[in-house]
């Protein structure tokens, strides 16, 4: 007989954690240390050679971080994970394993503005060339595939407009092209969408948002689905070829279906250096324990606020995929039946001016550049997160000049609606 399998909320509390072997501490301790002593020279050599399980130095891994990693891997249904300093660091580390200078990757045009910048400018100087495609048209990804394509990158729920991506359609393109599909699942969290179940090979997150959930710690994570065969046609030498820095070990041959997560740690994190602090790992881990409760409340509040705004005379349009009639409503029902997330945009009949006024009149919503906090947040993307894009790109990424973005918190929804009502009327 197979055992009964624990559910999502049980995993959110328990996965990866167990009482501390030395002290019995039940909460995961913050191992605030740079380094770990070796038993003897042989132990040290085995750890450095990737032959033994254990800790060396916090730039490579740390026990508090390891609990966070296993917990997220369990929630996403992956084989392993690597936590890093930020969502952006996760993206660099992932692509460093996959691309060599001169290679290409295809990315959805609707992405967090910071990712659009990172891909267009920072990565260009590494010789990694981004090719943009339209997440509402899987065919546009297929047409963008060339012999140099090494990966496809999308967001499950896209920032800022909250649109839902047809992950399975784009996964089919990736499979046909023989490249991994990377899904940024930051705005959905595994509570709403588990991209691996829909064909993703790699999932990344900014832990800074809903997973940490309290607006107090930066972090990022990479989850390995264990689904991609890295050795098939030698397209991914970081994984399939002998590594000179580890005496000729082949990462995939040695680590099997969690080889990608190991490559990210021992070739990416070790050499690029964006380690997460043990303290941040602890804060985010504590946040994740209440993820299911918070996400349910975030979604319930977001829907109430979206409904209120849709009926308000000053509002021109509300882009919340959870509302009937929204172009993404069918995809939302399919991919995120528990709720369409809590980040969305709306536009005001009064245009740019009205948007600026609204932001300054709000008393409970905080005007800042983040999402996924317990607190409700507001921002005008065109003048902030997406300000470096030209006007056409702003419109294409869902950040037109008259658009205001909300991230709905877990306060009482009546208070959020009252605050918007007074600010819209002022």
């Amino acid at each position: 007989m197979t055992d009964r399998l624990p559910g999502f909320s049980t995993l959110a509390v328990h996965a990866g954690a167990q009482p501390d072997p030395t002290t019995g501490a039940r909460a995961t301790p913050i191992y605030q240390t740079t380094s770990f002593v070796f038993n003897d020279a042989d132990h040290a050599a085995s750890l450095f050679g990737l032959q033994a399980f254990g800790n060396i130095y916090t730039r490579i891994g740390n026990p508090t971080q390891a609990v966070l990693e296993e917990r997220i891997a369990a929630l996403e249904g992956g084989t392993a994970a690597l936590a890093v300093a930020s969502g952006h660091a996760a993206q660099v580390v992932v692509l460093q394993q996959l691309l060599m200078p001169g290679d290409e990757f295809i990315a959805a045009r609707k992405l967090y503005g910071g990712s659009i910048n990172q891909f267009s400018h920072a990565f260009k100087s590494f010789g990694w060339n981004v090719v943009w495609a339209d997440p509402d048209d899987a065919g546009s990804f297929e047409r963008a595939v060339t012999p140099h394509t090494k990966a496809i990158f999308i967001e499950s729920i896209a920032n800022p407009a909250g649109s839902i991506t047809d992950i399975e359609a784009i996964a089919a393109v990736a499979r046909k092209a023989g490249v991994p599909l990377i899904v940024d699942n930051t705005l959905a969290t595994p509570y709403l969408i588990r991209p691996i179940d829909h064909g993703a090979d790699i999932v990344v997150h900014s832990l800074t948002k809903f997973l940490g959930g309290h607006g107090n710690s930066l972090g990022g994570v990479i989850v390995d689905a264990g689904t991609f065969d890295w050795s098939k046609d030698n397209k991914y030498p970081m994984l399939s070829e002998p590594r000179p820095e580890y005496h000729g070990i082949r990462i995939q041959e040695t680590f099997g279906n969690f080889a990608f997560a190991i490559a990210c740690r021992v070739l990416g994190l070790r050499d690029l250096g964006p380690a997460i602090s043990p303290f941040n790992a602890f804060m985010i881990l504590t946040g994740i324990e209440t993820l299911p409760l918070r996400m349910a409340k975030h979604c319930e509040n977001a829907r109430a606020v979206a409904e209120f705004l849709s009926g308000h005379p000053a509002v021109a349009a509300v882009n919340y995929s959870g509302l009937a009639g929204n172009p993404y409503n069918n995809l939302a029902r399919k991919y995120a039946p528990k709720g369409a997330g809590a980040v969305f945009t709306f536009s005001l009949k009064g245009g740019y001016e009205a948007g600026v006024n609204l932001v300054s009149n709000l008393k409970l919503f905080s005007h800042l550049a983040n999402v996924g906090d317990t607190r409700s947040l507001v921002i005008h993307p065109a003048s902030t997160t997406h300000s470096q894009l030209d006007d056409a790109a702003k419109v294409k990424s869902g950040a037109a000049p008259d658009v205001v973005r909300l991230s709905i918190g877990i306060e009482d929804k009546e208070d959020l609606i009252a605050d918007l009502e007074q600010a819209l009327g002022a």
Partner: protein, 194 residues
């Protein structure tokens, strides 16, 4: 037996019950996966026997190499085959000539030969393919969690600090996830291309 996905209880039963393991294809080169799997299993208290005709006369961590399974000269519980899929069948045939038969034939990560597995199973031998016993032991004991790997197990018990030669408890609660749509898809994709 579904050789695409093993139930944790199947693997747990094997690793809890076998005591001696003959490793065919064990390498004395300390950067080969067979070397460090051998070393780890020895550290976890298994009675390890290195089998490799190319290294007879040498020792692997103080254990003398033997040329073949027949040369071991005593019963072994498990034969762990560190060879490519194309070299599996002759080793299984050799194992089937042992008396008594081994209880388990284990084929290393990347190695799979369904015909050889069927012959071993017909003789009452348990078979595991395309898995690493070090990884599975580390996973079920959660020792592997230090590397961010999903052990797919839970426990609210305080575990002892592992020391040299110590067997760890493998009896944590399994949480599944080894048989997700994703892993099925990956297994299918692999069989599709070969």
């Amino acid at each position: 037996m579904n050789h695409d996905n093993y139930d944790d209880n199947y693997i747990r039963g094997i690793l809890n019950n076998v005591k001696s393991i003959a490793m065919v294809g064990a390498s004395p080169v300390n950067v080969r996966p067979s070397y460090f799997a051998f070393k780890y299993l020895a550290q976890r208290g298994y009675d390890m026997i290195p089998v490799n005709p190319g290294h007879v006369g040498k020792n692997l961590l103080d254990k003398p190499f033997v040329a073949s399974l027949a040369d071991i000269g005593r019963p072994v519980d498990m034969v762990d085959i560190f060879r490519n899929s194309t070299h599996i069948m002759p080793v299984v045939e050799e194992a089937l000539r042992l008396d008594p038969l081994p209880k388990v034939i284990w084929m290393q990560l990347g190695a799979r030969d369904d015909a050889a597995a069927a012959r071993a199973e017909a003789a009452g031998i348990k078979v595991v393919m395309n898995r690493c016993p070090k990884i599975e032991y580390g996973r079920l004991s959660s020792e592997i969690s230090w590397m961010g790997v999903n052990s797919r197990t839970l426990s609210s018990k305080r575990a002892p600090m592992p020391t040299q030669g110590m067997r760890l408890s493998l009896n944590r609660t399994s949480v599944g996830g080894g048989e997700t749509a994703a892993s099925d898809r990956a297994a299918k994709n692999k069989t599709d291309v070969t």
